[in-house]
């Protein structure tokens, strides 16, 4: 089985002897101990495993480790700035008290972060479109929309943060 060098949250990680088709999700969780990215369905239907690959939101449960190559991976653990300053979305999620069980929220935030990086002032419809692939079983969608709007305002005032 091959070895891989992965760039995750700005750090290089050497992962030994992993089957090529192993979903990135399980490499992150079991091999690297980055458990913020969640398992929900394994078929890219629920979005709990959402992380970024070169800034694009993708479902790690259906992304084979062999397809990563040199692309940069960012998970929820890497979203805050170095030194720990939270991303406007993370702050908005706390302030708006979005979570109930919280299991889906890392995936929701990662989808929203990819949206704001591309479109800092999304309409409600654009928010819905960007988060359409993320289930919230507890039904916090009203607050998710509100938190993305709050974060977008902060984001714009700061002229983008990335």
């Amino acid at each position: 089985m091959p070895d891989y060098m992965l760039d995750v949250n700005g750090k290089r990680h050497f992962v030994e002897e992993v089957e090529e088709e192993t979903p990135l999700l399980w490499v992150l969780r079991d091999a690297l101990g980055l458990v913020g990215t969640k398992y929900g369905c394994g078929i890219a239907a629920c979005g709990a495993c959402t992380m970024h690959i070169d800034g694009i939101a993708a479902r790690s449960c259906s992304f084979p480790v062999s397809a990563v190559g040199d692309q940069k991976i960012m998970t929820i653990e890497g979203l805050a700035a170095e030194g720990g300053a939270l991303h406007p979305l993370q702050k908005a999620w706390i302030e708006k008290d979005v979570a109930q069980c919280g299991y889906c929220q890392a995936g929701q935030i990662m989808s929203a972060a990819a949206l704001l990086a591309e479109n800092p002032d999304p309409s409600d419809e654009e928010i819905d479109n960007a988060l359409e692939g993320n289930y919230c079983r507890c039904g916090t969608y009203n607050r998710i929309r509100a938190a993305v709007r709050v974060a977008a305002n902060t984001y714009n005032k700061r002229g983008g943060i990335e």
Binding site: M1, E19, T22, P23, W26, R29, D30, A31, G33, L34, V35, G36, T37, K38, Y39, G40, C41, G42, I43, A45, C46, A48, T75, I76, E77, L79, A80, L86, L89, Q90, W93, I94, E95, D97, A99, Q100, C101, G102, Y103, C104, Q105, A106, I109, I127, D128, N129, L131, E132, N134, Y135, C136, R137, C138, G139, T140, Y141, N142, R143, I144, R145
Partner: protein
Amino acid sequence: MKEIASTPKASVFEEILDEIDPIIAHGISENSSAMISPDINRRSFLKLWGAGGLGLLLVFNLSEASKAARSNTLSELNAYIRISIDGKVAIYSKNPEVGQGIKTSLPMIIAEELDADWRDVVVEQSPIDESIFGRQNAGGSRSVATNYDALRYAGAAARYMLRAAAAKIWNVPLGECSTELGHVIHAKTGRRIPYGQLGDKAATIPVPEKNKIRLKKRKNFKLLGKRITGVDNYALVTGQPLFGIDQTLPDMLYAVYEKCPAIGGCVKNANYDEVLKLPDVKHVFPLEGNGHPLELSNGVAIVATSTWAAFRAKEKLKVEWDESDASKDDWFELIEQARLLKAQPAQHTLYQTGAVEEAVSDTAKSIQAFYTHHFIAHATLEPQNCTAWYRNDRVEVWAPTQSPGRAVNNIAHTVGLDASKVVVNQTRAGGGFGRRLVNDSVCEAAAISKYINAPVKLQWSREDDMMHDFYRVGGFHAVKGSVDPDGRVTRWGDHLITFSEDGEKSVIAGVPRRPKEEFPASFIENFQLTQSLIPLKTRCGLWRAPNSNTHAWVVQSFLHELSTTAGVDHLEFLLEMIGTAERRGAQNANSLNAERAVDVIQMAALKAGWGRTLPKGRGLGLAFHFSHGGYFAEVAEVSVSETKDVKVHHVTVVGDVGPIINLSGAENQCQGSVIDGLSAMFEQEITMKQGRVEQKNFDTYSLLRISQAPSVDVHFIQSDNPPTGAGEPALTPLAPAVCNAIYSASGHRVRTLPLVKEGFNVI
């Protein structure tokens, strides 16, 4: 026809139902209207000590007082407060956090009466030990109701002792010492001492008798009723390990467990050797079930060095099942049986008053209808899992369970140890909804760890989770009713066709637990609820607002059929029905108080603009339900296109659950209940064929997505009634409110759920 006074014990599940029963939750007997307040006195404090340098440590044990007032099966409570010298107030939250917000709201109650500064409060999840902490579970929307009084007294007693300590230090009368935000204050001299500096002294103060403790008046609350954000929010948005699935142990292995897709099937043989040869696979072995359906069922375990290796190996596993005793259930055959049964006399009467058959007057109009609702799964977003470590004849587990207290006994029973050798650590759970009241995955993990003598994390796949659930039972109602021209319902008959494991008793949550208390039984002069049973092997369980979540749909939909038949506005019709009944106070926690019901209905109508003119194809629907001690009225605004696309634009929720503990949390629960209710009525359906559940993942069993979610506004009528839970009752009126709105918008009466069965598409 056989008369049965009440539903007999249905199954082992009944034990769980008792644990989460709202009546028990209130500690209220059937004949008493009084709340039983847990009595705090000197004797009831188990331990009290001041540890030098560690500040004040209080362990409250209220179990003796509780036992005096209640039977041994009723809830007990302990609260645990630690004030350290740096002023931090550590408060244990004793119950599992599954998304209902209890880890924030229970400590708020203590902090309020303690007059702590919430910014100083650190919440810790308590150990699982019911001998110290009393009942530890999450179910029945009962955590606030059962703990409210006792936690208030706990906080107030600690505050008294801190004041007394300061009074001694200052040598002033106790009455001159007040408190504010973590300080004791002597107003006359302007002196203040932070709680952290009073710990040692306070620990020498005798614990006050209950009659010395004065609780705050609600108008003086500083914390309760406010919007307080969840104590785990930071950890959640930064991806820290909180959940069961996130647990790891040194040298931990990863397991999966394959059970027969048809319930009750047993392992005959499997390709053990072939699977054992696969990469990273360490063990493959069968386990015998322990005969307890809520614990360990027969199956094959695979243990590997990673989750993915175990998942891959499971795909290659081929088991030959002995299905001679397994389920052969077929949903479409069950529907046919129900259609035959509805034409026959019912098998049992659950409740009857008046004479349903003779009660039709000359002027009344009579209608009948047949309602069908579906089986659904819990589909918690975190699939079932558990981490277990069996060593030296002891076992420790880390479990995302709703019933950690009972898990101790389940595990002990499964692995053959005394309960004293079992340690359960509670993790946050990625959703509960009733699924995690059953500890099957916990028992499997313990049994696998025992077999391999190593630490292991058992992970169910989504497919395992969906195919091996304890489902919300489907069912059928043949309903008939009569209404006079004034909109007065003169008779109501409901022949409920449900299922039975043993042919004698309904499956869990198949029928109302207290038919007489179920709306509208006591509001109609001639009323009858009967049941017939169809044999079933598919496992049923408790799903958010058990039974109420379907019963409310039938009742509130058929009431709308009656008001429409009479040509009476539905708001007027409901108010007439409830308001003209004797306006009695609630006899117990499960007995509807007409005044509170009328208040929520009127406010919902007001907030939603009931009666306003809407464009063609758009309508409002109103429904009310009372469950778990909570009163909820909801108005849905819905449009229906000519191609039967349904858009739920907005839902107005008005609830009365007594005083609100955490406004943010309570509002979130109600919004979530609406989304969950809509999700459950739209497309989700579990069907069985040859005993096998046909839906395996979210490609065939979908949850509501964000674009389909209506905006939801929530309003509370905060009364001085004892507080009750907000996690379940707001779900119940949603389905009928939406169906009544669909009727108003399109003239189509929905009598089968999910909506896709009647050709609707929710957009």
